[in-house]
Symmetry: C2
Subunit: 293 residues, 2 copies
């Protein structure tokens, strides 16, 4: 089958064998936001045409392609949800050259009843946690980081943290902007920020410290971005880590999972890092449960 | 004497009697950032000329006018510092028509050794807390909110919280911007945000909830700005309030002190609200200790 993780800004397709092995892949920037006037069908055919010609006829799509702004809306499925539950809720999309189905996103509420949604991450979480006895905690860092809990193969709840976007907004649109100079990541400054996030005073005080330390000559411009990143990621991890000693499966790019692994270790957890192929494994698992007719 | 609270964007002058009563005042926008090429001397003469003509010859300035970017730099005085300590560290400025002195800012370190500075707020804190037995907690909300502790007439420590600027950056430069519509303040939404700040998940999760609640139709655009404000001010107050039952002297505009008073009460403290004349009283007190030669 063919699995596609089709997001807002990226398009990643995998040709997958029945047992989940990736035979071939395509990565590109043809996310839904980068396509003119909903050219989804033509784009898909252009990207995976050679695989269709080679005999593939099942295509499973996950990510923002199934949102209201995408090809067709696949309504959110409420948690808890397993790979089989997701497979039973797939939405068909008309496509001349193969059967195409969309994975729905998931909805949940946090402990206080505030609603949550995810779209695309559910497939990555399923892809990773099936390999670990069907249970655990997954973290997908990014613009809007997700933390999900899986029990007995079902995603039971999750929360979102606006960490990546808060980093960009605070570092780029406040008085901190003039202290910042993007440079090579500074692991020592990042670690200091993570430590800082555990001290009294709260996040809004800690971020002001980026300026105060800079003014006092105790933090140079090149280190300030890593220090701010450490403060914010540290606050996220401390709020989201369920208990000391928890194993967290971190899914994402090597750069980001490395930072989160450092922060999780500093906050008393254990991190297992996973790369972007989590999506391919999740698509294979959900596709394996699906009724292709 | 004449006291002037001369900040980055505002100029507020007071003609004060020997016992601290305000006889006359001038408010304007001639802050140091709004003046061409350091026209400080001319501006001061234009603003207070009639009072000088009436016989005043002592002028005390507080605020950013004493910064490196101002008229002349008045180096930070380390905490703890009383009105008398500040008076002993005044910096003279040449001015043809009267004796002019600058109040220095204060420096401190927080409980973790991170440096802090203030300039202008020290005078307002002195102005308020002298009336309350010389001790207590003051909060000056704003772009960079300050919380100061006064013991026996001396400012002993303070912290800064980037609340106002974080509100502008998160509300204006993230995905929340499209949920927001500035409108009349919504007290119920503000209170919900303050309550939210005390729930699990942390600030970065709570701010994402502004979007999640909006998407779910549970928070309308007009209420979202007040809700975000409540989340951020709630986090500030919870981090800065020393203990339940603490009385906090909140100094600022009526709009802002009203919001902080609501949040402080919701977080278990008691708020006493003070207006901008705190600066005039502080200038009178410090001026009364000064040696005018």
């Amino acid at each position: 089958m063919i699995g596609v993780d089709w997001g807002t800004t990226s398009f990643r397709a995998f040709r997958i064998t029945a047992n989940g092995t990736i035979r071939d892949r395509r990565d590109g920037s043809r996310g839904i936001q980068n396509l003119p006037d909903g050219r989804y069908s033509d784009t898909l055919r252009e990207e995976i045409g050679p695989w269709l010609a080679a005999g593939e006829d099942r295509v499973l799509l996950s990510g923002m392609i199934g949102s209201r702004q995408g090809w067709k809306e696949a309504p959110y499925l409420p948690c808890p949800a397993s790979a089989a539950d997701l497979a039973a809720a797939l939405v068909d999309v008309p496509f001349t050259w193969a059967r195409v189905k969309l994975v729905p996103g998931l909805s949940a509420t946090d402990d206080s009843g505030v609603p949550e949604v995810m779209r695309g991450e559910e497939t990555q979480v399923i892809g990773v946690l099936a390999a670990f006895g069907g249970g655990g905690i997954a973290c997908l860092p990014g613009t809007h980081s997700k933390w999900a809990r899986v029990e007995a193969g079902r995603i039971v709840r999750f929360t979102t943290h606006m960490t990546g976007e808060a980093y960009a907004a605070l570092g780029g649109h406040t008085i901190l902007a003039r202290m910042m100079r993007e440079g090579a990541p500074d692991p020592a400054a990042f670690d200091s920020g993570v430590t800082r996030s555990g001290e009294p005073g709260g996040l809004l005080h800690h971020v002001f410290g980026v300026r105060a330390l800079g003014l006092a000559g105790k933090l140079d411009a090149a280190a300030s971005a890593s220090y701010l990143s450490g403060i914010l990621i540290g606050h996220e991890v401390r709020a989201a880590l369920p208990a000391p000693g928890t194993v967290v499966h971190v899914i994402g790019t090597p750069e980001l999972t490395a930072l989160y692994a450092r922060a999780i270790a500093a906050c008393g957890g254990y991190a297992e890092r996973h790369d972007g192929e989590a999506a391919a494994r999740g698509l294979a698992l959900i596709g394996g449960h699906a009724s292709w007719g």
